[in-house]
């Protein structure tokens, strides 16, 4: 029973971080219909940059964070400018492949600058574990969940009330109409990419403070795909709801299935969920069903 509670809490918190990273994906998809397959690598490079700032350059925590956010903004802006602006009207295969190429490039860049493959960040929260009932939860997990939730609420409010947020939602809905209204669509693309990179960066920092910086962060990015597929590619609410579901499924399934079947079953559960969702309900729980007409 204590184990179950442990799995539940871990699952929900980790799921919130997956949902946060998935939110970046939904942002880009909603505003520009581009699938950002380089998400895992963006998380990776942001985490390594954080490491570079906090450990190698030994900046204090607050300064390091500001620099990481600035770096993520710059990365998003550069990416959109160089790789995506020239491809605005191309078929989706080109867009997906250019993000693949970008991811490949970023992975190489990370190996180039930080050639050792594993490292840890200095602890961001106190390492005293909290006791909730019979379970022991490290504060990092709770902090990660809290920050994710806070960001979600912030972003939802932003998209509802801020002018730029409303413009982004409008672009996702109908690009031509937005252009007719005089809103520069390219600015919106830039902003959505910058947002997505910042969100990925924060998600990366949270994940690496929990588990250290490894190449597994790329897999975490891929697990975020399962979050967006389950929740629906163009739905923020779907990402929030599906994140904890995937986290729960991963941890509870991993916890109970591992003694029964092979060890490591935990890693594969999100991908099996992807396949099941694509068979059963391809557009996810909250996604908009695409109706195609000739």
């Amino acid at each position: 029973m204590a184990e179950l509670l442990q799995f539940i809490i871990t699952g929900i918190t980790v799921g919130m971080v997956y949902a946060l990273i998935g939110l970046g994906f939904v942002l880009i998809w909603k505003s520009s219909n581009v699938a950002n397959l380089a998400l895992g690598q963006l998380v990776l490079i942001s985490s390594w940059f954080t490491y570079g700032m906090l450990v190698q350059a030994k900046f204090p925590l607050w300064l390091g964070f500001i620099l990481v956010i600035l770096f993520a903004l710059a990365l998003g802006w550069l990416t959109e400018r160089i790789a995506l602006r020239p491809l605005i009207a191309q078929p989706i295969l080109s867009l997906i492949t250019v993000t693949l190429g970008l991811g490949y490039f970023i992975e190489g860049l990370v190996t180039f600058i930080w050639p050792w493959s594993v490292d840890t960040l200095p602890p961001l929260f106190s390492t005293e574990p909290l006791h909730i009932g019979p379970t022991v939860v490290s504060q990092e997990y709770l902090g990660a969940a809290a920050i994710s939730l806070a960001l979600f609420i912030l972003l939802t409010l932003y998209f509802r009330y801020n002018k730029m947020g409303i413009a982004m939602r409008a672009t996702a809905d109908d690009q031509f109409a937005v252009q007719a209204c005089g809103i520069p669509v390219t600015t919106i693309f830039s902003t959505s990419w910058m947002f997505a990179c910042v969100v990925a960066a924060i998600g990366g920092i949270l994940m690496s403070s929990i588990g250290g910086i490894t190449y597994g962060l790329v897999e975490t990015g891929l697990k975020s795909f399962s979050v967006v597929i389950l929740g629906g590619l163009d739905s923020f609410i779907g990402a929030i709801v599906a994140g904890p579901i995937i986290g729960l499924a991963e941890n509870i399934g991993g916890g109970f299935l591992t003694p029964l079947t092979w060890p490591g079953v935990k890693d594969i559960i999100p991908f099996i969920i992807i396949i099941i969702v694509l068979f059963v309900k391809p557009y996810g729980l909250f996604g908009e069903v695409r109706i195609e007409r000739i």
């Binding site: 295969l93 080109s94 190429g101 490949y104 992975e107 795909f225 694509l278």
Partner: protein, 351 residues
């Protein structure tokens, strides 16, 4: 098909021929002679590079049929290559089946697994299918890693040499002939596939599958057929790879390799038969160039370079190459070659 000036087709056979003029025949036979006498004067190193190019070519041709002709994006292709490789490892290594049987079986097994993972293509397209194939990549590699009784798990599995009727393919030269023969057959099949009804149906599905269905194309059957054929090629390539390398490990079949394959067919040119050849040669030669000459050279010339230079440079360059090709020449090298041929034929009126 474009022909030089003054060449006219008077019969159906002439119209349908792949090689039409005497010059084309001469070039083709000359190329074949050159290719099959290579092992006489090439060193073992270059023969091994050629073998790798041949194996990659077969797999890339399969991916081209799936993604280039039929439009079903697949970012999990090396997992199907892995299925073929492990099938032949188990069949020839543990069960002792003869090599030709294992070759066919590994093609079929990869084809069927590809079929299963292609079933989502009936409900989703584009990006969703790409995610399904990425999931396929991870699931297949995970199963390979964890089903230790069958596949040796994380430790890998040894593969015996291929042998047809007593002749054992041990040297690079003998593998060269085997691989080139099979690549030749595969490319011929792919070229003809593109020219027949099935090829035209694939292109119709790629361009607009709803319209194709309205015209009477059975989408269910043809999409799955595309997956089967593409992954059959991957299985054959995997079988040859297993016997060429001799030792299999799941690390050889990573997601990065899958992305590289997609990059290869895009750089070469989607939807053409020449495209995979050019893309594969470009990427593999670039890999060899980097690993054998550029990196040691720069490591010796600039000793102050950071330590991650060797492993990091290749992915960076390939990523940049993919992005540059997509931005500047999305139709690939094959398109540039076609433009060059047209300009050459129409000179001096080539504008």
């Amino acid at each position: 098909m474009e022909l030089p000036c003054g060449v006219r087709n008077y019969t159906y056979e002439q119209d349908m021929a792949i090689i039409r003029t005497k010059t084309q025949w001469g070039l083709f036979i000359g190329f074949l002679i050159l290719l099959f006498t290579c092992p006489l004067y090439w060193s073992n190193y270059w023969l091994s590079v050629a073998n790798l190019v041949g194996i990659t070519l077969i797999a890339a041709t399969g991916l081209n049929i799936l993604t280039g002709y039929c439009g079903q994006l697949s970012i999990g292709h090396v997992s199907f290559i892995a299925v073929g490789a492990y099938t032949t490892a188990i069949l020839t290594g543990k069960l002792g089946l003869p090599f030709p049987a294992a070759l066919i079986c590994s093609g079929f097994s990869a084809g069927f697994i590809g079929l299963i993972f292609g079933i989502p293509s009936l409900r989703v397209k584009g990006f969703y299918l790409a995610i399904a194939t990425i999931a396929a990549q991870f699931i297949i590699i995970w199963v390979i890693n964890h089903w230790s009784a069958l596949t040796g798990g994380f430790l890998g599995i040894m593969v015996p040499y291929a042998s047809i009727g007593g002749f054992v393919f041990k040297s690079e030269a003998s593998m060269f002939y085997l691989i080139m023969a099979i690549a030749f057959i595969g490319l011929f099949y792919a070229k003809n596939l593109a020219r027949t009804k099935v090829g035209r149906v694939f292109v119709a599905i790629r361009d607009n599958d709803l319209a194709a269905e309205v015209m009477g194309v059975n989408l269910f059957y043809y999409k799955l057929l595309a997956f089967f054929i593409g992954c059959f090629f991957a299985g054959i390539a995997g079988c040859l790879f297993a016997h060429w390398v001799g030792f299999l490990n799941a690390e050889q079949f990573s997601l990065g390799e899958s992305i590289l394959y997609v990059g290869m067919i895009i750089i070469g040119g989607l939807g053409t038969t020449l495209g995979p050849i050019l893309g594969v040669v470009f990427v593999r030669l670039l890999q060899q160039l980097l690993s054998v000459w550029v990196i040691p050279f720069m490591g010796a010339a600039f000793p102050l370079l950071p330590a991650g230079f060797t492993t990091g440079l290749a992915p960076m360059l390939f990523g940049v190459a993919i992005i540059l090709f997509l931005v500047l020449e999305p139709r690939g090298i094959a398109h540039r070659w076609a433009l060059f041929k047209a300009a050459y034929r129409l000179w001096p009126f080539s504008y």
